[in-house]
């Protein structure tokens, strides 16, 4: 039987609920879970003040209600699964290293910062700084997958060094800024200044995108490896056409102010 947490009182200010994570709730009984500490602003309160707790966690947690103001869900998660029925707040799956999180609604900023493993799927849209480094950190996301079916905002994959971010919709500005390695696929359009300061790594988009002057065009070619990635995300339910899987891509390299070893691939048969 899985654990079900239903929001009965909407928090007025963000609720810091990093205790909601399979690692911390496995095998804990209902009363003990309801008594766990969460921070409502700077007030220390109990989880039960906001959530109705039902069942016991055997590796899976289901969450219901408008969680747009509930932060840090699944922080440092290593194992298990969380299914979130509605929207969710900032810092979802921060620093997670394993397990899976599925969000049926939209997510806020900072989805899975500094993630090292595991998988996050968001059916709706998400905010800024997906899979990024926290401010000051030298390394962002290092592994795992973030699959977002809708649109996202700025600085997707800031300073990421590994793993896959796939966006079904559009991204804002600075997609892949400071990127060290890893892969970002954007099926929609990207904003401006994509790949600024990137050292290595790959950013792929299915549309034309404005390039900054420190990127240079190399060639138009048919990257074999990309078929694997695109077929894989199509299997996950994203809209990828056969033409895109087999198509040609313009290859740009940059950022020349760094190592000049990053690449941006733009679908050429648009």
């Amino acid at each position: 039987m899985s654990l079900k947490l239903s929001l009965h009182t909407k928090p007025d200010v963000p609720l810091e609920a990093d205790v909601i994570c399979p690692d911390k709730l496995n095998g804990v009984n209902e009363t003990a879970i309801a008594a766990l500490t969460v921070f409502h602003g700077n007030d220390q309160t109990a989880l039960g003040d906001f959530f109705t707790v039902k069942g016991q966690c055997d590796g899976e947690i289901q969450l219901e209600g408008d969680l747009a103001n509930v932060k840090h869900l699944g922080s440092e998660m290593t194992i298990g699964k969380m299914i979130i029925e509605g929207d969710v707040g900032q810092h979802l799956g921060a620093c997670m290293s394993g397990g899976e999180i599925v969000v049926e609604g939209n997510a806020h900023d900072w989805v899975a910062p500094e993630m090292t493993g595991g998988k996050i799927t968001i059916k709706g849209n998400a905010g800024h700084l997906i899979g990024s480094a926290y401010r000051g950190s030298p390394i962002g996301m290092q592994g795992g997958e973030i699959i977002i079916h809708g649109d996202v905002k700025n600085e997707t994959g800031n300073t990421m060094r590994g793993g896959l971010i796939a966006i079904g919709g559009n991204t804002g500005d600075f997609t892949g800024v400071n990127m060290l390695a890893g892969t970002i696929i954007v099926l929609g359009e990207m904003g401006i200044r994509n790949g600024a300061s990137m050292k290595r790594g790959t950013i792929i988009s299915m549309h034309h995108a404005p390039m900054i002057p420190t990127f240079s065009y190399v060639c138009t070619y048919n990257p074999t490896y990309l078929r694997m990635y695109l077929s894989y995300i199509r299997k996950l339910g994203m809209e990828v056409s056969d033409e895109q899987i087999n198509g040609n891509y313009k290859r740009w390299i940059g950022d020349a102010i760094e190592l000049n070893k990053g690449e941006i691939l733009l679908y050429a048969n648009e």
Partner: protein
């Protein structure tokens, strides 16, 4: 806690009064140690415990514009080390550069009750005093950077010695400093203005003025005016191979006058410039041992995270090329320079191990613990939170051997560390962490437990593991008030500012003012820091005041 207090049954370590582990009572009244108190005084039973004066840090970087820039540069450092509040204390953030409140509290949790910020630009004095106001528990003061001051250098070039002297006194008064600090004297200006150049030895002239002339002028001036602590000198060529010659020359420049050399570990390297250094600890410490006018602090390097934070801007510029990590240059527009970068000392790296070993060599070959003082140049060589581990390295030969076996052996082979069997005693540790720095600073009420002393007292459980012992004092008493009891905070305290007010001829303002009007962005009348920034403070008298 009542104003009177009696500590009974504790083993006292009080080198200034020649007490070495004797069981004796201490009586406290109104923040001072006294001969006796009435029988109804609150008692602390220190049975099985060691009683020492509160620690005194003679050289650290804990407040001011550059420290704040280092905080801003490293948000990741704070995120991983929150400092929660208690019913008596406020919260903050830790890391290698803790927030102001956390700095005060963390010093207290080691038993330190006084710390001196070692480098503040004159124009940053106001900011530093503001931060001091938010740095609780400890008493504190700062050294004002004057070694790269264009106006003072011009006076020296023109041979206007008396005006130089008056101007130094005016600057110390205007900033509420404790003494003057020289950092790479004469080296920052060419670096700022002449395409990254620096001076390579202390006789190299820049615009007709050599570092030696600057050093000599400051040492003489400070001694003539009888500052309680002499000129505090960070020599030229810090960190460069072969710099021990510069260090020896700097000490020779002092002649038989008092001078304090900061973090000499960083200045004890042999070898050729541009190549890997070797150890010249023996030469440096030999000079210190035989010259009682010199005091120094070691600036030990500890493995792990550190933050390079120095007014030696050219040095930070060189280091940023090695780490490839973020760095920042600040205070360049001020009467000094500054560079900051995050750093990590690693056991397997030759240079880092050599630095670690040279520091230990200096400690272990020192013949006069009163003049070779414990410091890590926090946060440059490592956080002050690593002092307990450093104390264990000095007191426990077995532990030291274990640590030596884990580090770069090529570097160890270049030092005499394997042959040094010395173990510091508790008495000697009390000297290098309390009595010695208090004496070198001229703080007559600190570093001892005799009647009249400030009641800054630390009580440790006596343990075999000295790191554990010095990490967790059972009681810390500041100015007669219990701050920590049974390892928990039980009180708070503001701490006071220590500064000096050397006499000067007010006519010097007429000489300084035109320079301000021509070049400064701040009005002369707004420059001097007003007394309202001092809050609780103590003017430490100069020899000439007495």
């Amino acid at each position: 806690m009542a104003a009177t207090l009696r500590i009974v049954n504790g083993k006292l370590y009080d080198p200034i009064n020649n007490i070495d582990g004797k069981v004796q009572d201490i009586c406290i009244e109104d923040g001072r140690i006294v001969d006796s108190v009435s029988d109804d005084a609150t008692r602390i039973d220190a049975q099985g415990m060691v009683v020492m004066p509160g620690g005194v840090d003679i050289h650290c970087h804990i407040a001011g514009p550059k420290v704040n820039a280092a905080r801003k540069l490293q948000p990741e450092d704070h995120r991983r080390d929150p400092h929660p509040g208690t019913p008596f204390t406020r919260s903050g953030t830790g890391g290698t550069v803790p927030s102001t409140f956390a700095t005060g509290y963390r010093y207290a949790t080691l038993g330190y009750t006084t710390a001196m910020e070692a480098a503040v630009t004159p124009i940053g004095a106001r900011h530093t005093l503001e931060e001091f106001h938010d740095t609780p528990i400890i008493d504190k003061g700062f050294y004002v950077l004057l070694g790269n001051n264009i106006f003072l250098q011009n006076l020296l070039r023109e041979g206007r010695k008396e005006e130089f002297r008056q101007a130094v006194a005016w600057w110390v008064n205007s900033t509420k400093a404790y003494t003057v600090k020289l950092v790479n004297p004469g080296g920052d200006e060419p670096w700022k203005g002449k395409k990254n150049s620096n001076v390579s030895n202390i006789d190299e002239k820049f615009d007709g003025l050599s570092p030696r002339q600057i050093i000599e002028a400051f040492i003489t001036t400070v001694n003539d005016m009888g500052f309680p602590h002499p000129a505090h000198i960070h020599c030229n060529n810090l960190g460069h191979s072969g710099n021990y010659k510069t260090t020896l020359e700097t000490m020779r420049t002092a002649g038989d006058q008092r001078a304090h050399l900061a973090h000499i570990q960083f200045h004890s390297y042999g070898g050729e410039l541009g190549k890997n250094p070797d150890s010249k600890a023996a030469e440096i410490i030999e000079y210190v041992n035989t010259h009682p006018n010199i005091t120094c602090d070691v600036g030990q390097v500890m493995f792990g995270k550190a933050t390079i934070m120095t007014a030696d801007a050219p040095l930070a510029y060189v280091l940023r090329g090695l780490t490839n990590s973020k760095w920042v240059n600040v205070d360049t527009e001020c009467e000094s320079g500054c560079g900051i970068l995050p750093f990590s000392y690693q056991e397997h790296i030759y240079m880092h191990t050599l630095q670690w070993a040279i520091g230990l060599e200096l400690f272990l070959m020192s013949k006069d613990p009163w003049r070779v003082i414990l410091s890590t140049d926090h946060p440059n060589g490592g956080s002050f939170m690593l002092y307990p581990k450093l104390i264990k390295l000095l007191m426990d030969r077995g532990f030291r051997q274990e640590e030596i076996s884990r580090v770069n052996q090529k570097a160890i082979a270049k030092t005499a560390l394997n042959d040094l069997d010395r173990e510091y005693t508790l008495y000697e540790i009390t000297i290098i962490t309390r009595a010695g720095p208090a004496k070198a600073l001229g703080l007559k009420h600190k570093g001892h437990l005799g009647p009249g002393a400030d009641a800054d007292i630390t009580i440790y459980d006596e343990m075999d593991d000295k790191e554990m012992m010095f990490n967790a004092p059972r009681y810390v008493i500041k100015s007669g008030k219990a701050i920590i009891a049974n390892h928990e905070f039980c009180g708070d305290h503001d701490g006071k500012i220590l500064h000096i007010t050397p006499a000067y001829d007010e006519k010097i303002e007429e000489v300084v003012q035109p320079f301000f009007e021509n070049y400064y962005t701040i009005e002369f009348d707004n420059y001097a820091v007003s007394d309202s920034y001092l809050h609780d403070h103590e003017i430490v008298p100069t020899a000439n005041d007495r």
